[in-house]
Each structure stands twice: as C-alpha cells, then as structure tokens.
C-alpha cells in the first residue's frame, strides 16, 4: 500500500509540475497565440515556454549559489502562484486548448491505440529507479551535484560541459521526488514533442494523428522517454523554434511575436545541447527563406532569432569560457588554444563518402546498429516524409525539407547516432503525415497496403520496446524487487557505489579510478580521475580521503599508502544477445593513509 502511494505521489508530482509549467507558459504566450486554431501547437508551446522559463530561473539560482532544495521548492511555490490565474484561464479555454479527436478512421484509431500503449508503458517503466548509462554519468548526476553544492559545479566528465537547461528541470524533479520524478520530467517533455509532431501534421494539412504516431510510437521514442536523457526536451524546443520561425508564411502582418517565440525556443534548444546551436542557425535561415525575396524582412527575422538564441543560451557558454576558455568545450578545443579532447570516440556509421551518405536512410533501417540502433527510428518517417514534401508542393514544405536535409548532412558528417536526429523528427513526422494523407487520397490500393505495413512495423517496434521496458522494470515498480536488487542488475558498478555509501563517512572525498564514472548513486563527493592510479601521497595532497578502483579482474596488488576497506567482484550485465554478461569487473575501496603510516618500511 505504501509502495503504491509512493508511485502515485511520483506521478502526481510530475503531473503537478506539468500543470504549473503549461498553465504558466500559457499565461506567458501572447493573446493571439493563445487563440491559435492549432491546439496541439498551443499546448506544446505553453508547456515548452513554462518549462523553459523555469529552467532559466533555476539556472540563475545556480549562478547565485542558491540551487538548493529550499530555493527550488520556493520556485515551485512561485510558479504555482503565478500559474493559478492562468490555470483558471486555461481551464475556461479547455475546449479550445485540448485537441478533441473526432476521427473515425480505423487506421487513426489503431494509431491512437498504439500511441496510448507506448505512453502508458513508458510512464510505468519510467517509475523504476533511473539506470541508463548517460543519465547516471551526467544527465542526473550533474543536477544532483549542483543541488548538493548549491551551484553549477565543474564535474569530471567531458559531457558535463554541455548546456544543461533540461538537466536543471531534472534537478527540480530530484528535489521534489527523487530520480524517478526527474526521469518523468523527460517523459513529460516527450509528450510535448509528440504534440508538436501533431501540430506540424495539422499545419501542413496532413494527418495529425498519424504524425504523432510516426514520431511517438517508435522504439527510439520509448528508449528516450524511459531513459532520463535530454533529447526529447531538445526535440520539443527545436520543433517549436522551426514552427514559429516559419510561421510568417501564413501570417504576413505582425510576425514579430512568432519570430520572438522562435528565438526563445531556439535559445532553449541551444541551452540544452550543443546541437541546439544548429537549431538557432537553421530555424533562422528557414525564417528568412519563407519570406524571400523580401530580404530586409528576412534579415530582421534572422537577427531576432539569432540574437535571442545567443542571449538565452549564453549562461552555459559563458560558464564553459570561465571554466575552460572554450565556449563549446570540449569541441574544437584546439581553436581556443587548448589540447585536443576526446568527446565521442566511437566511430558511428559506415563511412563518410557520398555513396554512404546516399544510402544512409536505408542503412539506418537495414543495418542500423552502428548508428546506435538506427532501426529504432521506424521506417514510416523515412518513407513518407519525402512523399509529403512533394505532395504538399508549398514553399513551407520545401523549406522544411531543406532544413531536415541540412540537419541530416551535419548529422552524417559529425556523429551519426539515431537519437541526434530527434530535433528534426517532429517536423519530419508532420511531413510524413502529409505523405500518408496523399497516399490515402491518391495512392493505389497496393500503396495504401504498404503504408499500412510501414506504420505497423513502426508502431510495432514502439509497442515491442514498450513491452520490453515494462518487462524489465515491472518487478521493481510493482514492489516485488528492492531498488538495490534492481540497480545491481541494471546499473553498472552499483555494488561498488553501495560500498561507498555504506562504509564511508559523509564528509569523505573519494577518488574514482578506472571505470567508475557513472556516479549518480554514489552519495559522497566522488571525483573520477581516469584510468591511471596516482600515488596515495598525490591523492592525499589533493584532499582525497578514499579511493575506489574499478577495473577488469584481477586488480593490481594494493599499493603503499592505502588500506583496503572492501573488495569484491561482479558481472556487468548485458542483453541476452550479448550473452547475458558483458564482462566481469573487480572493485577495491581503500582508505588513503596519512603519510607517516603509508610510507614503506
């Protein structure tokens, strides 16, 4: 009973946060925008604007060393006070705000069913303690360290120099309800991203429901929304930046509001990941292209979007300059006079030549492992978006196609991982919704059948991944397994971190050597120092009191100046496809002895 209550509290917390952000964001939207006929757009914009404004406030708290539970709770209370009148306004406009699905098309109903299953499965699975690698290396660890220190402390992994607006929202989730609530914040932002896909579908005259399904009912979406990454937040901001940036096509007079919104959302995207900078650039260029040849107006639009992108994202880039001298550290570090720093060393993709570029959409699906599970994108978006561009025959569709193409080029030649396509996927799904509509209206029976199969493979992948996530997490969510048991199975090195939490005093300062850099669950001050074990005297001199060494078995003998507190071994779990066990690791937790005790006899 207590467990069930805890689960309900976590869901209620994230629903409460979502309500505060959406109602607050709704209040911040200009009146004309609030009355926009595209309800999916209004809902997504309200959520994104409220969440984004909250993230900016939390970042300011971190800058002034107030990113602590008390101040974060005060932010929530302030948000509640601000949003209450807006809540009443939003409630009175609920019929216009909430999209009412009146479609009776059987395919749409199936799509809604698949999407509903995916959302229910991901909501359930995300209630488990977060265990995905990137989340516990930095997406959750960074905000948890920030909360502990009260400020945006420098961390020990290169990924922690990414801009972190979405992680600041995770910090709020951590304070309000712990790791699962933080992960559910990402789930919530994903819901907004799905709404933008539907908004694109509606705007382009395609099938809004199918657009939402093509973006949301995919393996990639399930993986993301259950993983406490930030990419769905980035997709939400990026999609809206493009949406409002290209709005001038239908709104010649007074496009200032739309362009300002585009700049704000592009700034939030650039403040959430380095790739968000490209959103600012491409959304700005798209904003010019839709009013061309009126280049004066286009230039004004570009300046507004570019300026707002830079201003809103700037805190994170200024932080990097202050910490490293390079605003985009570790990228292009040599340009800023520093040494080359490895960021992503895995060579994604099959090659960088023209043939591989042209075959990359099909490679993603047919042999997508080297694109970090490219198949998880599902085939519907790749099949139907090009048809949507040709079928729509409008400047907007061409501009969107060119934007997606430019993103694809940059993606292909930089780091072709499937999830890095997410920022342009909602609008691609909107175009795919147009493609689906075009086939429905003008396609042969065979074409309609193939589209049905493409949608079935796409949504089937999403539902299957959702079922897998539920199966993996059901025992811990259902209270049949403890958090520790679950994390020992699913979170690498958790056993070693448990020892830190059990055996070390709360003021211990721990050096982590070897493999232990996913430190979210280590509740002490731990700094990852890399592969090489420094002498004990050097660690002592740097203020460390203990050392955790994690590496392939067997570990070297205990060096001088250290006293072992705990040692052990454990398997690193992997999928059944990889044989169940990835490798076997050893750990040793040692106390660093004072110099007089540590010197050799």
């Amino acid at each position: 009973m207590r467990h069930l209550l805890s689960l309900l509290t976590q869901v209620a917390t994230v629903v409460g946060l979502g309500t505060i952000w959406t109602a607050g964001g709704f209040g911040l939207l200009p009146r004309e925008v609030r009355r926009h006929a595209n309800r999916f757009l209004v809902g997504a914009s309200a959520l994104a604007l409220g969440a984004g404004a909250n993230a900016v406030v939390l970042t300011i708290l971190a800058i002034v060393h107030l990113f602590r539970p008390g101040a974060i709770w005060a932010t929530v209370a302030m948000g509640l006070a601000i949003c209450t009148p807006c809540l009443a306004r939003a409630w009175s406009a609920r019929r216009r705000l909430l999209p009412i699905v009146r479609s009776v098309d059987p395919l749409d109903r199936l799509g809604i069913l698949a999407l509903g299953l995916v959302l229910a499965a991901t909501l359930f699975a995300t209630l488990a303690p977060p265990a995905s690698m990137d989340a516990i290396i930095y997406h959750l660890r960074a905000p948890s360290v920030f909360v502990r220190t009260g400020t945006w402390t420098r961390l020990d992994v290169v990924q922690s120099f990414q801009p972190m607006y979405v992680e600041m929202l995770f910090g709020e989730g951590l304070v309000l309800g712990g790791g699962s609530v933080a992960a559910l914040v990402h789930w919530l932002l994903g819901l907004g991203a799905i709404a933008t896909a539907a908004a694109w579908g509606r705007r382009l005259g395609g099938n809004a429901i199918l657009a939402a399904v093509i973006f949301g009912a995919t393996g990639l979406y399930v993986w993301e929304s259950t993983s406490a990454f930030i990419d769905l937040g980035l997709a939400l901001f990026a999609s809206l930046a493009f949406f409002w940036g290209t709005q001038a096509e239908t709104q010649k007079e007074g496009d200032g509001q739309a362009v300002v919104l585009a700049g704000v959302f592009a700034g939030l995207a650039a403040g959430s990941k380095f790739t968000g900078l490209m959103v600012g650039l491409l959304a700005g260029l798209a904003a010019v292209a839709v009013v061309w040849p009126d280049w004066r107006r286009g230039l004004r639009r570009l300046v507004v979007i570019g300026g707002l992108t830079i201003v809103i994202a700037s805190p994170w880039y200024v932080r990097n300059v202050l910490l490293t001298g390079n605003p985009i550290y570790p990228l292009a570090n040599r340009l800023f006079g520093g040494p080359w720093v490895a960021f992503s060393t895995y060579p994604y993709g099959y090659g960088r030549d023209l043939v591989h570029l042209l075959s990359s959409p099909l490679d993603l699906l047919a042999r997508g492992e080297v694109f970090d599970q490219g198949w998880s994108l599902g085939p519907a978006v790749l099949a139907l978006a090009p048809i949507g561009i040709l079928a729509r025959r409008s400047r907007l569709a061409l501009v969107l196609g060119a934007s997606i193409g430019a993103w694809w080029l940059i993606w292909f030649f930089s780091s072709p991982q499937a999830r890095l396509l997410l920022p342009v996927l909602p609008m691609a799904a909107g175009l795919a919704g147009v493609g689906a509509q075009a086939i429905k209206v003008g396609g042969s029976k065979s074409a309609r059948l193939v589209v049905g199969m493409l949608l079935a493979v796409t949504a089937g992948g999403g539902v299957a991944m959702g079922a897998l996530a539920v199966k993996t997490n059901a025992r811990v969510v259902g209270g049949l397994e403890t958090k520790d048991e679950y994390l020992e199975r699913n979170s690498w090195h958790y056993l070693a971190y448990e020892k830190i939490n059990q055996l070390l005093p709360t003021d211990a300062k721990v050096a982590s050597i070897g493999l232990g850099h996913n430190l979210f669950y280590a509740n002490r001050e731990v700094r990852f120092l890399g592969d090489v074990e420094p002498p004990a005297s050097q660690l002592r001199g740097a203020g460390f009191t203990h050392e955790i060494w994690i590496g392939d078995c067997p570990l070297a003998a205990l060096d001088v100046g250290r006293r072992s507190l705990a040692e052990g071994t454990y398997p690193l779990r992997a999928s059944k496809l990889l044989g169940g066990v990835f490798s076997r690791e050893c750990y040793r937790l040692s106390e660093l002895l004072p110099a007089e005790l540590g010197s050799p006899p």
């Binding site: 004309e32 009355r35 926009h36 006929a37 595209n38 757009l41 509606r202 705007r203 382009l204 005259g205 395609g206 709005q247 239908t250 709104q251 007079e253 007074g254 959409p361 099909l362 699906l365 047919a366 042999r367 997508g368 198949w375 599902g378 085939p379 790749l382 099949a383 139907l384 090009p386 048809i387 949507g388 040709l390 079928a391 729509r392 025959r393 409008s394 907007l396 147009v434 509509q437 075009a438 086939i439 209206v441 003008g442 396609g443 042969s444 065979s446 074409a447 193939v450 589209v451 199969m453 493409l454 493979v457």
Partner: protein, 45 residues
C-alpha cells in the same frame, strides 16, 4: 489582429504514384531486414 489560421487550404496531391510506391516498398524491405535477421538467428539457435 485575428488569430492565425491553422490549416492550409489546398488538398495534397500525390505526384508520380508508381515511383512513390517503389520508394515505399524499398524502405519497407530495408525495415524488414533486421526483423528477418533476428527471426533467422533465433531459428538457427
């Protein structure tokens, strides 16, 4: 200022239906490759 319109007025028109069908089939086959590979590897075990 009146609220902006949401829907574009024109109907969508499918250009080159046969070419579109061919493209759809190619993408579908590409998507079925990993599924077929997975089924075959399970059968082989």
């Amino acid at each position: 200022m009146p609220p902006p319109r949401a829907e574009p007025p024109e109907e969508v028109v499918l250009p080159r239906p046969r070419l579109a069908l061919a493209w759809l089939v190619v993408v579908l086959i590409a998507a079925l490759v990993p599924i077929a590979r997975s089924i075959l590897s399970r059968l082989a075990r």
